[in-house]
Amino acid sequence: MDFGIFAVLAQDGVTNGAVYALLAMALVLVFSVTRIIFLPQGEFIGFGALTVAALQSSQFPRLIWLLIGIGVLTFLVELGSALRQRRYKPLPRRLLMWSVIENLIYPSFIWLLAHTFDWQGMPMAVQILFTLAITVPLGIMIYRVAFQPMAEASVLVLLIVSVGVHFALLGMGLFIFGPEGSTTHPFTDWSTALGEMPVSGQSVVVMAVAGSLIGLLYLFFDRTLYGKALRATAVNRKGAQLVGIGTSQAGRMAFGLAAGLGTLAGTLIAPLNTVGYDTGFVVALKGFVAAIVGGLASYPLAAAGALLVGLLESYSSYWASAYKEVIVFTLIIPVLAWRSLTSGHGDEE
């Protein structure tokens, strides 16, 4: 292999690695705050990519139907839990009013927006923002409906629920978007060359976006009260409850962020790959391998793991393309062996 091929493969690996890094961060975030392994992450990749593609081809973004449906479900769940507690206290009117706004009015408003504007002509950044306005609340609602009622359950039970949510969303994805995949417009046609290596503008955009998102996440966790509250919940759940950071509030924040990161990862890969309703799962699993490198706890290690996964995938697709997935997922075995040898004992509560 000459240097040119080596460099191209490296560029490819780092580009994919940057996307895996976003997914790995989201998985670490959700797990450390809620102890949930966020398998539905992959669906958000597909939902995000397909929604941007729909906006670009002037179709109605059908994901909004799902938002409206789950919104109604979330409202019913919240109404039910308020009615069940009526024995102790009067109906929490303000809470229910917010529930109506968040779960019923907001989705209808989004539906209206989708109909009023011509999204095809908008800049891609606006299309992506509009997509986020659909998927982030969707992530929060999914937490509210599926996970919040059982937030204290064991990691295994939460994983099983997570598998259930994954299949449910996958099925709805097939129903909403159909079996066909789509691609979105490229971010840019610009390209250049660094010495012998051609550099595609696409890779540069992906790396820049992923890099700045990681930087923003760092600032969020390090500087803002909400970011600190999420870290605090991850470090000490009981301590967090005692200062008034409710487990469910932290869980909703984590799910909203994770849904957003998954969506962005989807829109980053969509110009280069045909993304279908079920494409995201394998991509998210690679993010999961990276998150495992970080022990589902460390953001920097997870990011490093993501680069490792990206590079490994890229070079193995050159040498043994038939086995590239096998090689990437086999990485989990030495990583787990190394982690269990270095970390002494499991810290499962």
């Binding site: 102790y88 509250a229 605090a232 009981k238 301590g239 005692l242 200062v243 950071i245 409710g246």
Partner: protein
């Protein structure tokens, strides 16, 4: 006693019981606490003291079940979530401190004020107040909480609770594992809090020190209050002296 005995209690429990599955940890306990008062609950291990504080705060583990009434300023709060009770003015420093060990001292304190967002109040003012009480925390504000000594951790834990501006501060074994000198410092802070109008509900293994700073005391044994009275009187009670203040074996 500085507390006005006719004033209404800030905190009261009526017939408060706690059970974990089939195990009853607390049986119909009734205690009360007035503004600016320090009340201590003494008793052997496993008498249900921690369960009492956790039930008042609404912070029982999920298998724990509380029954009975908790009244804050005469208002029933026993079905409120922790956040609501915290917002009203209850704060608990748990036995294990439960600090955010991988975060700095200052972040720990700032998070203590997570629910305290009012116009015109900045957490900076709150921090200054805490640093005035615990000057050592100011020196160490950028240190990770997990790297602090036992006494300093206790100060962070108390400081974090005070950041929420509580009217009732509950302390679960604040002197546990502390050197005598540090313990004295913690008790000094507790008696200082009285002047700020904060009522303190204290649980202590070190009954002698606890009764010395307290106004009133309860003896809790196997889930029941078996004795109560002014702290100075309890300290003279032969039964208390024999069981809790006697020579250490």
């Amino acid at each position: 006693m500085s507390a006005d005995n006719n004033s209404k209690p800030v905190l009261e429990t009526r017939n408060l019981s706690v059970r974990y599955g089939k195990v009853e940890a607390l049986r119909g306990t009734s205690i009360s606490l007035r503004a600016g008062e320090i009340v201590t609950v003494i008793g052997p291990n496993g008498a249900g003291k921690s369960s009492l504080l956790n039930a008042i705060m609404g912070a029982l583990p999920s298998e724990g079940q509380a029954e009975g009434e908790v009244l804050y300023m005469g208002q029933e709060v026993s079905h409120h979530a922790i956040e609501l009770r915290l917002g009203k003015g209850l704060a608990l420093v748990p036995e294990k401190r439960e600090l955010f060990t991988t975060m700095t001292v200052e972040d720990n304190l700032v998070l203590g004020a997570y629910r305290r967002r009012k116009a015109g109040w900045s957490y900076r003012d709150g921090l200054e107040g805490i640093y005035a009480v615990f000057p050592r925390l100011k020196e160490r504000r950028n240190q990770l909480a997990g790297t602090m000594s036992g006494g300093e951790r206790q100060m962070v834990a108390i400081g974090r609770a005070l950041m929420s501006d509580p009217k009732v501060l509950m302390l679960d074994e604040p002197s546990l594992g502390l050197a005598p000198r540090v313990m004295a410092e913690v008790f000094q802070v507790i008696s200082h809090l009285r002047d700020t109008g904060v009522a303190t509900l204290l649980i202590e293994q070190n009954s002698r020190a606890a009764l010395k700073v307290s106004d009133y005391g309860y003896v809790l044994e196997v889930g029941d209050v078996t004795l109560e009275g002014k702290a100075s009187e309890l300290a003279q009670n032969p039964r208390v002296i024999e069981a809790y203040l006697g020579a250490k074996h």
